[in-house]
Symmetry: C2
Subunit: 406 residues, 2 copies
C-alpha cells in the first residue's frame, strides 16, 4: 500500500515532536507501507522569517519571499529524515524542486501543474521513506515558488494523486472534522466520514482543518483524505466520495464560521450594464478574492452592491473603489471588518427545502440580525456581527441536533 | 568591469547589516560594475540549526546535514536581494543549485567541479545584480551539497574564475591580512599585498581570514583577491601573483598560530616498510587530515612516529591507532590537545637560510620548548604548549621586526 502522510507546522514544531512524527512514520513503514511524508515548516518559523523581512522592506519582491520562506520546510524535511535515520529507517528528504513539484510562476500563490520528476518513485523503489517539503515547488524557469495558503495539504494530495496512493493522511492538531469548532461548542461531534463536497464547503467557510484546494484536488482524482491528529491514534475523519446522499438522514452536516471576513457596501450605484463587471474586474486585478456578492435594486435605475472579502484585503479593496467612484457613480461606500460569516453545510440540504428557514428562525430567536445571506446547494451562509458569532454557532448546532449522541 | 563580492556571516548577521551590505553592493553597481555577490549564512544561523540536530541525533546523515545547513545561505540571499530591491536595484537571488555550482558528492565537504549553468551570466546580461548562496552546490544526482570550511570564499573565487571576473573582493570583519593576529599582538601591521603562496601558508597555518581552498583556486586561475572589511572603506590586502620575491627585503611576512591542533605520538613502532602507509592510509580512510608528520629512528629497527591533526579528529584518530596496534606493533601511544602550532611565513625565506634559527633562538630566549618542527620553502612551524602560544607569537613578531612602522 502506498500512503502519503502530511504533518503540519504544529506537528513538527520542535525536535521532540519531530521525533514523535518519525515514530509514527516508522510504524507505517514497518507495517509494509510505502510511505511519502509531506511536512510543513516548524511552528513559528515562517513568522520569524517574515519578521526579518519587515526589518528590511515593506514591499518584499514575491520571488524573493518564496526563496526565503521555502527554507522553512527544507529545515523540517532534513530534521525529520535525521529522526527517521536515527530509528534505523532508510530515508531520503527532497525539496519541492527535487520532488519535481512543477508549478506556474505565480510567486507566493503558485498552482501545481504536474509532478515532473520520477525521483520520488525511484526513492520509493529503493525502499526509502521519502520526506518531501510541502508548500513549495519550482517553475519552468527553475525559480522557487510557494503555493500559498493550504500549500502543504495541496502538496500531499497532489503527490497522492500523481502516484495513485491508496490513502492520503493529513495529520493535524485536531482529531478530525467536527460538526462545528469544538473550542466554541463543547458538544461538537467528530464526523467519521464526510463527502468532498461538504468538506469543500466547510473548508471554504472557515473550518481551517483542511484547505479547500487540497479537497478539490482529492475530489478530482478520487483520493480519500484521512484527517486525523498527530498527537494520538484515534481514527479521524475520512473525506471521500459519498454516493448515498439521497438517503442521508441529516440535512445539515456541520456549522462553519469565519471571523476573517470584511463587508463592503456601495450605495446608489448606477444601474447600467458593465458596472458590476468593472468593479469586480478591478478587484480581481488587485488579486482580491471576493466571496459573497449581493446586488439589490432599491430604487429605479439605482442599485446597492454589497460584497465580502477577507479582512487583509479590506483596505486595498476600499482604495480600488475610491479610484473607481467616477466610473461607477456610487453615492457612497463603507467597509466593515466587524462581521463574521456563519454557515450551515450539508449535502442533504438540497432535498430539504426547510433548512434555510430553520437557520433564520434559530438566529432570529437569538435576536441576531442578518446583514447578508447567500445560499448554494450545499450551504447557507449569513453575515452577522462578529460579536454574535459564538452565540449563533451554538444556537445553530443545537437547532440542527448535531451534538454528541444526538 | 565584473566584480565578485563575498560577504561573510558577520557581515550579514542582522537586517541592519544586510541593509548596509546592500548599500555597498549598490554603490559598485552604480559605478558601472557588473556585480555578483556571494553571501554566507547570517551570524549564528548555522549553530542554531546544529543545536536542533543535537536534539534529534548524535550522528546526523551527512546528506541531510547539507539539506539543513544550506537553508542558512538561502535565507541570506533572499534578504539581501530584498534589501537591494528596496534601494531600487535590479537583482535576483540564486541558490547554489540555480547558479549551477556542480560539486562532487562528498556531503559536508564537497568540491566544486564546474559552474554548470549559464544562469548567472544570463542574469548579469539582463542588468541584474546576482546574489548567490555561498557554501553550497548540487551534485550530479541533483542532491544538495555543502562545501565545508571556507565554502563561501571558495564559491566566490570559483565564480570569479568561471566568469573571468576582474576582481574578487572578500568582505570580512577585519581590515585585511595582518603580520599576525592583531588581537594578540597590538603592533601587528596590515599588509597591502601578499602573494598567493604566502597567503596559502598563512591561511593553512591558522590565520582564519581567508580559507586556503579559495587561495589555491585564486592562484590556479590568476584571480586577484581583495580581502577587506565590510564595516569601513579602508583598502584591505590584495592577494595576487608576486614575481619579485627575489628582491623582497623581508624574509618573514607574517606569524601564524593555530590553537586547534592535537599531537599524537606512537612509541617503538616496527621499522618495516609499509608501516607508515598503513597508519596514514587508515587515518585518511576515516577522513582525518594529518598535518605535520615526524618519524625519528631512536634505536635499531624501532621508530617513533608523531603527527598532528585537528582537535576534533583526535578521538577518532586514537581509535584508529588502537585498532591498528597489532599490525604496526607500537609499544604505546598518546594524544595531547594541549598544544599550539606557531609558524613564520615568508616567500623570502628560501633565500635567507638563517631565518629558522632566528625563530628557534627567539623561542628559546622565552624558555619555550619545541615539541615538533616542520619546514617548507615558505614557512617554519613549531608545535609548542598551548599556554605558551601568545608569548611565542609576540616574541616572533618582535624578532622579525614586523610591527607597524618597523
Amino acid at each position: 500500500m502506498l500512503v502519503v502522510q502530511k504533518y503540519g507546522g504544529s506537528s513538527v514544531a520542535n525536535p521532540e515532536r519531530i521525533r514523535s512524527v518519525a515514530g509514527r512514520v516508522a510504524d507505517a513503514h514497518a507495517a509494509g507501507d510505502r510511505v511519502v511524508v509531506v511536512v510543513s515548516a516548524m511552528g513559528d518559523t515562517t513568522d520569524q522569517l517574515i519578521d526579518l523581512v519587515h526589518e528590511i522592506t515593506d514591499k518584499p519582491p514575491e520571488r524573493e519571499m518564496d526563496v526565503l520562506l521555502s527554507t522553512g520546510e527544507q529545515v523540517s524535511i532534513a530534521l525529520l529524515a535525521m529522526a527517521l535515520k536515527e530509528l534505523g529507517k532508510p530515508v531520503v528528504s527532497l525539496t519541492g524542486a527535487q520532488a519535481g513539484i512543477l508549478t506556474d510562476s505565480s510567486h507566493t500563490k503558485a498552482k501545481i501543474l504536474e509532478i515532473s520528476s520520477s525521483r520520488v518513485l525511484e526513492e520509493l523503489g529503493r525502499g526509502n521513506i521519502v520526506v518531501v517539503a510541502g508548500f513549495q515547488g519550482i517553475d519552468e524557469a527553475d525559480d522557487i515558488t510557494t503555493l500559498g495558503r493550504g500549500g502543504s495539504d495541496t502538496t500531499a494530495v497532489a503527490l497522492a494523486a500523481a502516484f495513485k496512493a491508496d490513502l492520503c493522511e493529513i495529520y493535524t492538531d485536531v482529531d478530525g472534522v467536527y460538526t462545528t469548532d469544538p473550542r466554541l461548542v463543547p458538544e461538537a461531534r467528530k464526523l467519521d466520514v464526510i463527502s468532498y463536497n461538504e468538506m469543500l464547503e466547510l473548508a471554504s467557510l472557515g473550518a481551517a482543518v483542511l484547505h479547500p484546494r487540497s479537497v478539490e484536488l482529492g475530489m478530482k482524482y478520487g483520493i480519500p483524505i484521512h484527517v486525523r491528529s498527530s498527537f494520538n491514534n484515534h481514527p479521524g475523519t475520512i473525506v471521500k466520495e459519498i454516493n448515498d446522499t439521497m438517503e442521508k438522514s441529516l440535512a445539515v452536516t456541520g456549522i462553519a464560521y469565519d471571523l476573517n471576513v470584511a463587508k463592503i457596501g456601495l450605495y446608489d450605484v448606477y444601474d447600467r450594464p458593465g458596472i458590476a463587471y468593472r468593479l469586480f474586474h478591478a478587484l480581481s486585478e488587485e488579486k482580491i478574492n471576493v466571496d459573497m456578492i449581493i446586488q439589490s435594486a432599491t430604487r429605479d435605475e439605482i442599485n446597492d452592491i454589497s460584497f465580502t472579502c477577507s479582512q487583509v484585503d479590506l483596505q486595498k479593496a476600499l482604495q480600488v473603489i475610491e479610484r473607481l467612484l467616477p466610473e461607477i457613480g456610487a453615492n457612497g461606500f463603507a467597509g466593515d471588518d466587524n462581521v463574521a460569516k456563519v454557515s450551515i453545510v450539508g449535502a442533504g440540504m438540497v432535498s430539504n427545502p426547510g433548512v434555510a428557514s430553520m437557520m433564520f428562525s434559530a438566529l432570529s430567536e437569538e435576536g441576531i440580525n442578518l446583514e447578508m445571506i447567500s445560499t448554494s446547494e450545499l450551504k447557507v451562509s449569513c453575515i452577522i456581527k462578529a460579536s454574535e458569532a459564538e452565540r449563533a454557532v451554538t444556537a445553530l448546532h443545537r437547532k440542527f441536533n448535531l451534538a454528541k449522541g444526538a
